[in-house]
Structures are given as C-alpha cells and as structure tokens.
Symmetry: C2
Subunit: 602 residues, 2 copies
C-alpha cells in the first residue's frame, strides 16, 4: 500500500496556468494572498495529509466506527489526528475572518480539501460537513446564532452536520415529515427520524451542531413548507459551554461498502419532549437555504472525486513501478521488467493520470470562478462568473465522482489479483469512491439540475458562452501546425480532437434545448458526462498550450512539461472521443429508453 | 435484497432464435437432446439456483470462509447445498458419458452455469474449477488416471483446482519455480508455493484433485519447461478411497474484496519429503495443456460476468419497482410513484437490461459454436466454428466481465444511498463482480490474446468472416423501411446503428492488422471492447429481427416480444455508439499512451 503524496508540482502548475492565482491579486479581499503564501500553505497541508491523515486511512477502513449504546467511537488514532488538525487551524481556511476564519480563496481551500480527500476521505468528511454548516450560518444565521455557534465551528472545536434524509425522503425532500413545534421562548421542539447523517454522532468534538430540515405546524405541503433548524447535540450552559445532552440520540450507524471511518448515523430526534432547536432563516424557506449549503457541498463532493482519483492513480503507479512481471514487448532482452513498461499497463496508467489531471483542472477553474463571483469588483463580471459556477457545479459533482469510480476500478485492475486482496489498499479506494456519485444528490439528480434548471433557466446562454470560451482554446491549439516540431503536431492534434468534441457537445446541447422535459430527463446523464468530458478536454488543452509555450521558451523542468503535453495527448485520444457516442445517445436515445422503461415497470 | 430468479423466458428465446438448439439436432452426439428435455433441465436448474444457492449468497458473503490450522470451513449451509448439488447430478452435465457425465451440449450447460453464477458465484466457482480439471483429464489423462480420478470428479464427490500462480509468476507463467522431482515408481515429489488457488482447500468434498504446474530437473527455462502434475489432497488407499493426507497444506486464505464464500488459498507443496504427484500429458508440455483448461475456464468466467450482470439487473429492477420516491415527471398527478417511472432510472435499468441480454446472447452463440466445433460431421465446418470460438473466447471473457463490473455499479446507483449499505445486497454484486476481469487472465491478457494471437495468426481472416456475418444481419435490419410500422422503423434504426459500428470496427481492425506489436498492445483493450460492443449489437439485431417477425405474425406473448425490440433499440442508441470513440482511440491512441507511459516510468 502506498501512502498519499500531495501533487504539489501539479498544483503549482494549475495555480500558474489553469486557474491563475494571479487573477485574484487585484481583488481587495485577497490583497494579502500571494503565490509564496499559498505554496507554503499547500506544502504544510501536503505534509499533514501525507504524515497524519494518510496512514490512518487503512486503519479507519479496517476498524470502522463502533456504536456503543448511542455513542460512536471513531477508529484508533482519529481523535488525536483531529486534535492536530484543529490545532493547526486547518478547519477555518476559507471561513470569514470576522468569525475567526482565514478568509483564503476557495481556490486555495479546494486544493487543500483535495489533499484531505486523497489522504483520507472518511476523515475529511467531518470538516467538510462542518464547512457546510458554517456557510449556512454565515449567510443565514441571526447575529446571536453567529456569535454563539460560529467561532467554535470555525475553529473546529465543534462539528456540523446536514440532516435532510428520512426513510421516505431521499432524493425527494418534499416528503420530509420531521416536525418542529414552536415554544413560548422562541425555540422549537423537534421530533422525527433522520437517516444517512454523515458524522451525525462521533467522538472527535465536544459538540455537534446539527442543521435539520423539519416542518412547523400548518406549513404548506411539499418543499415550500420545510424550515431549517439548528439543533445542537449538547445544549450550552450559561457560559456557552456544552452541557446537558439534547433530546436526540444516535439509534445506529450503517454497515457500509466503504468510508468505514466515517460514521453514517440514524438520528432519533425527540424521543422525549423533543430536541431543542432554533429556526435558521425565515420559516418555510429551509430548502432554499439548505440548497446554498448543498451547492457548496456538491462542489466539495466533486473534490472528493478528484482526491480519490489522485489517490488511486498514485497507488497504481507505485505498484506498477515496483511489480516485476514479464519481459518487455519488442525488446531484445528477455529480462523481466516492471509492469509499468507494458503497453497495456501504460495505457491504463496514462488514462488514469490524464483523467485525474482533467478533473483537477476543471474543479480549480470552477473554484477560481467562485472567488471571482463573490469578490470581483465588477457586478457584471460577478454575474457571469456565477452563471459559470452554477452551470458547472453539477458537472464537477457528477462527472468527477463517476470518473473517480472508474479510475479506482482501473487502479485495482492495474494490480491484477493482488488488487482484489484487501490488504493491498486498491480495493478500499474502489469501495470508498462508490459513495461519491450518490450522496449530496445522485448523478441523476445532478443531471436533472443541469438540464432542468441550469440550462433551462437561461435557455443555454451560459453553456453557449462556455462553448465560445472553449472554441478559443481550440483555435489556439489548431494554430500550431502539423508541420511544426513534435510539440506543435501534438498541440494541433489535441485541437482537432477538442474541435470534434465541441461540435458533438453543440449538437447535443441544441437537441436538449429544443427537447421536452421527459425526453431530456432520459438523456440528461449522458449530456452531463459530455460536459465533463469536453470541459476536461478544454482544460487539458489549456495545459498543453502552456506546456508547449514553456518548452519552446526553453524553460527548466522540461520532463514535467513534456509529461503535461503527453497527458493532454492521451486525454485527447482516449477520453475526448467518448463524446461522439454520447452525442448519438443524447440525440437518439430518449425514445428507446422511455419505451423500454414502460415495458420494465412490472 | 432480492433473490435470483432464472430468466427462463429469455433463455427459451435464446434457444429458439439466437443460438438455436435445433442446430444441434442433426448431430449424432446430441440425437437425444430436444427442446422439451432442455427446458425441463433449465426449469429444474432454475429452481435449484433460486431455492438453494441464491439464499446462501449473502450468507457466504457475510460469514466468508474460515481458516483453521490448515483446514478451511465454508460458510453455514454450503456443505448441505453442495451435497444436494452433487446428488442431483448437476456436476456432470456436459461431461463425457463414458466417465459418468450426461454429455449435454455446452450450450445447455452454459445456461445452467449462468444460473449458478447469478445465484451464487462464490459457490459456483467450485464446480467450475472441477469442470476444468475434468476437461484436462478427459483430453490428456492416461487411461489409468482417467479410471482413477474422473468418475468421482464427474460425480462431484471430489473437486478440482488449477494451481498456476506463484508470488513471482502471475500473468507471466514463465517465471514458475515449483519443482517436481521424479521418483523411482514413476511418481514425482512436488515442492513449491502456489497462491490465489480458488477452492484450494475446503470442506465440501472428501478429496481435492490439484492440477499443478511445475518444473522437472533440467527442464528448459521459460514456458517450454513447465509440466503439469496431478497432486491429490489425499492419497488413495488400495481400495481407491481417500486416505492419508498428501504433503501439502493450506498456509492461509486471502481476505478479499468479494466472493467471500470462495476460499482463495495459499498452498504449500512439500514442506516435508514433497507432495506426491503424477505427470499429466508429456513432460514440458504443461502450459499447452493448461491452456486447454484455461480457454474453457476463460469462457466460464465470461459466464460469471453474464450471471452477475443478470443478478445485479434483477436486484435493481426489484428495488426500482417497489421504492416510492418523487412524483412522475410530466404527469398531472403529484402522487408519489415508484422510481422505475423516472426517466433517468428507466435509462439506467434499460441499459442494464440491454447490455445483459447482449452478453447473454453472445455467450450462447459462442457456446453453440463450441458444440459445433467439436461434434459437427463436416470437418470444414468444425474448423470454421473453432476459428470463431478461438476469436471470441477472449472477447466473451474480457467484455462480459468488464461489462458486469459496470452493470453492477449502475445497479448499486439505482438504489441511491441504500445501495451503499451492505445489507441491501447491491454492493455485494459490485464487489463480487470486480474479480472477474482479473482472474483467468486479466482483460489486458485477453486483449493480448485477441490481437497478438487470434488476429495475428490468420491475418484477421476469422474476424473479417465474422464482420461479413454481421453485415448480413445489418442488411436484413435495414431492409425494414422507415415508412413501415413502428417495429419496422425501430428495426431500420437498429440496422443503421449496427452499420455505423461495423464500419468503426472494420477501420479499427484494419489499423491493428497493419500495426506493429507494441503499438497494437497499447490499444488492444479498446479493440477488444469494440468486438464486444459490436458483436453484442449484432446479436441484439438478431433478437430484434426475430421479435419483429413474431410480432408481425401476430404471435402471443406480444409484451415479451415488444420488450425484446425495445431492449435492442436501447442497445443501439446507448451502447453501440461507443464504437465511434473506441475507433478513434484504436486508430490514434497508441503513440500518446506509449509516450506518456515512458514519462510515467519513474
């Protein structure tokens, strides 16, 4: 089993060429953020990920969490690691300075999150959920709520959760039944059962701040009658210290395929007189508010995909470099060689590397846009950036996670039979990754968001604007002639592949923009996959252009730059071509799927 | 969790239209095999699979096997089930009648094997391996060996294994080190360690017949110095009864991702004076002989893919029909409906169903060809059928198993969060399926066999002949005009899709036939996938033609026939289009993969 190593060189390249940190320099919010500072942070985070979190990943998988009469014990070593994590201040990286955060760009915290996910995704879920709770309270909490709860959430002394799902209410939150009864003192009493609550109970922090969706008496039916409540695990005493347990308990934790270190709780609110909670934001607007948190969380789950893809790729590379088996095809010598020299293994590894780089690049471009959408001085620019973010969040979530599952599967395959043995570690990534296309909205839900909301609400304007941006990169690539040197020829090839795929995407997009809701829903996932595949190709094209320019300029680190060019070439020849089949499916696949769907109903 | 139910109606359709049982009627070997008999066998097998094997599948997963000081205990209920399996005579279905077998066609035993795999793949591995040992001894055993070992292998009283892998010799068997020292009495003494031995030790039978690859003193280096030995777990006494244990022991069993009910043993041969064994076939010809067994086993592992795909599809369908969530898109009513009514779920299920039918159909066509290759009276026909079988065995193995992994993953996705909880059962299929693209030769090894041996040895003649057969089906489909009725229009659409994919395959095939070995090796897996995707489309086209013909003739069971047409349509619009991207990768992807491969070597 190989330990995680933060890809710092790749990250620096991304901050220089793909999602330039320099773009943020003119923004007053980030006046003090410079490359030196950021690289120092990434270096420290990389050490923490490699030295502390990564070694606990297999332990967490093997030991899992233990439910003991309502308490949940995390695996050995996790409490100490969390204390270190908190003490180092990692929890508040991107939080508002007024609440104790460091106010760093999402671009930077995204890279750090990616490291936590690569090192130990089950651990990383705890701060990820806390981050979501912080964002809700920063935006919607009353001044008192912010004062009471935010500082210790930001510091990581307390953790946060999202309580949405109930047995009958999963993807469809309109079916939520948990009740909140108003009390004379302005608080509420909560009764109901929530399931699939990540870190809903654990021993890492002295309190847990649950954000819970529930209905007040007389609320309208459906999604317009759901309110959001803050329900702490422990109520605070007069000094603001966690004291008596609230009337809520962890009834059990799930026995899952993966992320064993992350407890998935069934929470029973109000066995007795009801859990004490307080309304966050206006009554009946809970789902809207939760969507703010959910969009942030969806992007964060996309980063889980990126981190897991990176981890699986590192593990496969490490194995392939040391496992000796067979002699080299086409070589005179019959000496046994490491399997990294076999063409089919090179194909598997190359596609893993290229896809992972593409996921990474697209996520960073979106993270940068998030910062610009929030802090750019020009209002029009903020609107344009937000439109791009809104369009891309379901793509980053859906495509990165589905890709991570496939990449982890190929990673296991690289190991052969040894990959199927649990001790090797490849199987854990395959199991861990499998949750990511499900939670925070399945890929189907992401695709419905993309097609039914993001494309529908502006008739595809943001998507067409994005295609225009991508065409510019394609044209820049194609300006490199086939009669230039080898780099030039590769750039031109990448440009042609990107051009073909952009045409595929345009055809599919126009088909969906003219289609009806039901037929579109049947091909929304293939369209989402196309967006991922093609935007990945766009950013690999950007990377290739930068690498080509630097190579031509005779920069040092030529091996690194050649590798960037080669991985973009692999992406262009092994991944981008998928768009052709997807186009056909989007254009011609709806009727067939719906007809068979009817036949399968019973 | 849903139990397995044998798809008898589908199987009957296959025996009538796809791989017609009637083709075997003129063969003297199968003079007594008729549809009535075969359907009765399938019916009985279906009951055994559903009633006995399927309920043990989750138990096997949960309990796993237990190693106890060299002994291996199978999960609760497995011994009793195996006794029933043996008593019912299932073990010898396709074995030679002279050794106590029933001499049924491979076509029939393939359908039955598929049921065992669908019901409980970990259990099915035991008779699968026994079958391999039987085939070796039927073909290469001496008369004495056949008399001594075959009857009780055929009856299932004893089981068989394949002992190939050693720690340093996995995909590359030339590195085998196990030694066999000749003794004065003609026997040998075996010393060495074998790993990954499926059912290498267990408590289901009173003896285990190991077939072991080893080197005799002075044997040539590499693959030409490997011999095959029969090494029983227990030596026989004068009455031919298992008596003293041979000098071999199970040192441990693996802790695996899946197939927990199937023990994967580390076997130590010859801790003391050496395990007693006997040479099977000529000295130094062991690998050739083992390849006979391996080809049969590869096809059998392909059937594991088919069975697992069917099981995962059944599980997802059962869940989607009962899980109520959300209201129907585009419907006036806001009533909650089963998720099988949501377009994206319909797409997922439809693609699962269509792909599984395609895997099933192609495997049966190959099984029929195996029977014809062996028993057809015309020598030229036997050669042609064998060429088709040889070409298709790596495709059935590689494509069916890779597809099974993807199908099981989609099946888990259909369940949403519940799919990630182990008790649901979907995760077991996802874990179990993952071994199938690895053992009996990884997909990379299958692709190397396809490209480096099967295509190379006849310069693609068998492949081009196959494309010719597929073109005929395409033309028959395209004769149905778009201005006919709805069935006709669908048939024409399927024909056009198949035509496009056949052109893709031809381009890719010609590229590989002209390519050099190293570059071909880098795109062999995408080419293998194309063969699978396109031959699947071919057989879905055959099915659609038959369904269309029967619908036009006004046959009963119209709903079933419409469903066949619809699933072929889904395959044509959602699966066949993949060939376009694969063609590009085969044609243009080798150089990029090899260039990046060099960059990744350290």
């Amino acid at each position: 089993m190989s330990e995680y190593s933060a890809p710092l060189r790749d990250m620096r390249f991304v901050l220089e060429e793909i999602a330039p940190l320099a773009t943020l320099a003119p923004l007053s919010r980030f006046a003090e953020v410079n490359a030196e500072l950021v690289l120092a942070i990434l270096d420290e985070a990389g050490k923490f990920a490699a030295d502390v979190l990564s070694p606990l990943n297999a332990i967490g998988d093997r030991e899992g969490c233990r439910w003991d009469d309502g308490a949940v014990l995390t695996p050995g070593g996790w409490r100490a690691a969390y204390r270190q994590f908190q003490a180092a201040g990692w929890n508040g990286l991107a939080c508002e300075p007024e609440h104790g955060g460091q106010g760093l760009p999402r671009l930077v915290s995204a890279l750090v999150d990616e490291m936590w996910n690569g090192a130990n995704v089950a651990f990383a879920l705890c701060p990820m959920l806390t981050q979501g709770a912080i964002e809700v309270l920063q935006q919607y909490g009353s001044a008192g709520q912010q004062r009471t709860w935010l500082p210790r959430l930001v510091s990581g002394e307390w953790s946060g959760t999202m309580n949405l799902t109930e047995p009958q209410a999963g993807s469809d939150l309109s079916a939520i039944r948990t009740r909140a009864m108003p009390q004379a003192d302005g608080s509420f009493r909560i009764h109901g059962q929530k399931i699939f609550i990540t870190y809903g109970e654990h021993d890492l922090t002295e309190n847990i701040v649950h954000l819970v969706l529930a209905r007040v008496p007389g609320a309208p039916a459906g999604v317009k009658g759901i309110s959001l409540f803050l329900v702490p695990q422990r109520l605070l005493d007069a000094d603001g210290q966690p004291a008596a347990r609230n009337d809520l308990r962890c009834a059990s934790i799930e026995h899952k395929l993966g992320i064993h270190g992350s407890p998935t709780a069934v929470l029973a609110f109000g066995d007795g007189e009801g859990s004490v909670g307080w309304l966050v934001g206006p009554e009946n607007r809970g789902l809207e508010i939760m969507f703010v948190m959910m969009n942030a969380a969806r992007f964060s789950v996309g980063l889980e995909g990126v981190g897991l893809a990176e981890r699986a790729t590192q593990q496969a590379l490490a194995y392939a470099r040391q496992r000796v088996q067979g002699s080299e095809l086409g070589a005179a010598s019959r000496d046994k060689v490491a399997i990294v020299r076999h063409p089919d293994v090179q194909r598997m590894l190359g596609v893993m590397v290229a896809r992972t780089e593409a996921l990474h690049a697209v996520a960073c471009v979106v993270a940068l846009a998030m910062d610009l959408a929030r802090h750019h001085p020009d209002a029009q620019e903020r609107v344009a950036q937000q439109a791009f973010v809104d369009l891309m969040v379901p793509v980053v979530k859906g495509w990165s996670t589905e890709s991570a599952v496939e990449i982890a599967s190929v990673g296991l395959q690289v190991h052969g039979g040894v990959g199927y043995v649990e001790e090797t570690g490849a199987a854990q990534h395959y199991r861990d990754a499998r949750i990511t296309p499900i939670y925070e909205g399945t890929t189907g839900i992401q695709a419905a968001d993309l097609v039914g909301r993001k494309l529908a609400r502006d008739s595809g304007a943001a998507a067409l604007a994005l295609i225009g941006r991508m065409r510019q990169v394609q044209q820049a690539l194609e300006r490199h002639g086939a009669n230039g040197d080898r780099s030039d020829a590769v750039l031109a090839q990448i440009g042609r592949a990107l051009g073909d795929s952009l045409s595929d995407l345009e055809v599919a997009l126009r088909c969906v923009l003219q289609g009806d809701g039901v037929r579109n829903a049947a091909v929304a996932v293939p369209l989402l996959e196309m967006f991922g595949v093609v935007t990945g190709g766009w950013q690999m094209g950007v990377a290739a252009l930068a690498a080509g320019r630097r190579i031509a300029a005779g920069e040092a680190d030529r091996a690194f730059l050649e590798r960037k060019l080669a991985s973009a070439h692999v992406y262009a020849a092994h991944v981008l071509p998928r768009s052709a089949g997807l186009r056909t499916t989007v254009v011609a696949g709806a009727d067939a799927a719906l007809a068979l769907g009817v036949a399968l109903q019973d």
